[in-house]
Amino acid sequence: MTPRTCLIVDDSRIIRKVARRIVEGLGFEVDEAADGSEALAFCAGVMPEVILLDWSMPVMDGMTFLRRLRTLPGGGGPKVLFCTIETRAERIAEALSAGADDYVMKPFDGEILTSKFAEVGAV
């Protein structure tokens, strides 16, 4: 069985490392991108099954990435979980209406991330 794939998009190497450890623990093969533009280039090649997405990043932010992703061929497929320090209700609603499947407010831990993966049906 091929392992499931998750792309972690965050400009913080530390967050990527923390998230990677948790997501790998859920049985995913993980790739990383440091901003939306890198992530978009990655997705144009291979669509991951799950994308963990920061909001505020240099070059291209998470929201721009999400909108562009959803217009790509096959771009509706990945489950996208925003994962950001932005916690205002309006912003969360904005992310969901832009096509995010769920939303994780930082700080988070393994239990939260695991339960979010379960809610979107990724595990």
Binding site: I92, A95, S115, K116, E119
Partner: protein, 271 residues
């Protein structure tokens, strides 16, 4: 904490709450009692316990008991349980009750995540419910009643969309909306106490409570749950919890982890 202190704590927990305070929880007990000792103005946990043994004040004894119970819970814990409840049980029970609200008891609700999850699941599925949520711990109930959760707590198990639908943001916390609060009534109750009236429920959730009880008290609690459950009602335990030899009143439902119904032997209150 001396071994004698721990022995006394063990028997206090067993007699009042049926709770099995195993020896490996000695460090944990000391850790949990620390904040209580400070709150009550004692220098150390030992001083708090010495005072309790010398002059057993009921309020203090219960505060000690509460702090040693296991409060861990989260939203939609065992997700399948909530899907079974809203997708299978509620349609059937609601039809059987002619559309009247289905009566639900969250027994051992801790800080409230379970009853709120049940209420959200029922209302999202469009079924009227009346939920009574009880716990032994006043502190846990205060938190449950407040309906307020940190960002950390609220997203443990709850999808962001559901959170936005049912909770309002207030600075650093998320607070249950009035419509959600109206569906749940909180009260303190001890599962060891026999029912004092004949109020009965259609569905009882008693999850991750019995596993911490000693065998005799667990049987007693189960007997009380059975008396509170209508004959065609359902009992949910934790997904991985079993009954083994604890009760002949319930049998597991195949293919539905944690779901139990009454055995024919228990259908004795039909008349």
């Amino acid at each position: 904490m001396s071994p004698d202190d721990f022995d006394r704590l063990q028997s206090l927990m067993a007699s009042r709450a049926g709770f099995r305070l195993t020896r490996d929880r000695m460090k944990l007990a000391e850790h949990r009692l620390g904040p209580l000792a400070r709150r009550e103005g004692y220098e150390t946990v030992d001083a708090l316990l010495a005072s309790l043994w010398a002059k057993p004040v009921a309020g203090m004894a219960w505060a000690v008991i509460e702090s040693l119970l296991n409060p861990e819970t989260w939203f939609r814990r065992d997700r399948k349980t909530f899907d079974t409840f809203a997708g299978e049980l509620l349609p059937a029970l609601s039809a059987a009750r002619g559309g009247a609200p289905v009566k639900v008891w969250s027994a051992g609700c801790s800080t409230g995540q379970e009853p709120w999850s049940l209420a959200m699941a029922a209302m999202d599925a469009g079924f009227p419910v009346e939920i009574v949520a009880t716990d032994l711990s006043q502190r846990a109930l205060e938190k449950a009643r407040s309906g307020a959760y940190t960002g950390f707590e609220i997203q443990r198990g709850l999808a962001a969309g559901t959170m936005l639908n049912w909770f309002d943001q207030a600075e650093d916390s998320w607070i249950a909306r009035p419509q959600l609060r109206a569906a749940v009534h909180f009260a303190r109750a001890n599962l060891l106490d026999a029912p004092a009236d004949d109020h009965r429920f259609d569905v009882i959730f008693c999850r991750y409570v019995l596993a911490d009880m000693d065998a005799a008290r667990r049987a007693q609690a189960l007997d009380n749950l059975e008396r509170r459950l209508v004959d065609d009602g359902c009992l949910f335990l934790g997904a991985d919890e079993g009954l083994e030899a604890d009760s002949i009143a319930f049998r597991p439902v195949a293919g539905r982890k944690g779901l139990f119904v009454k055995t024919p032997a228990a259908l004795r209150r039909a008349a």
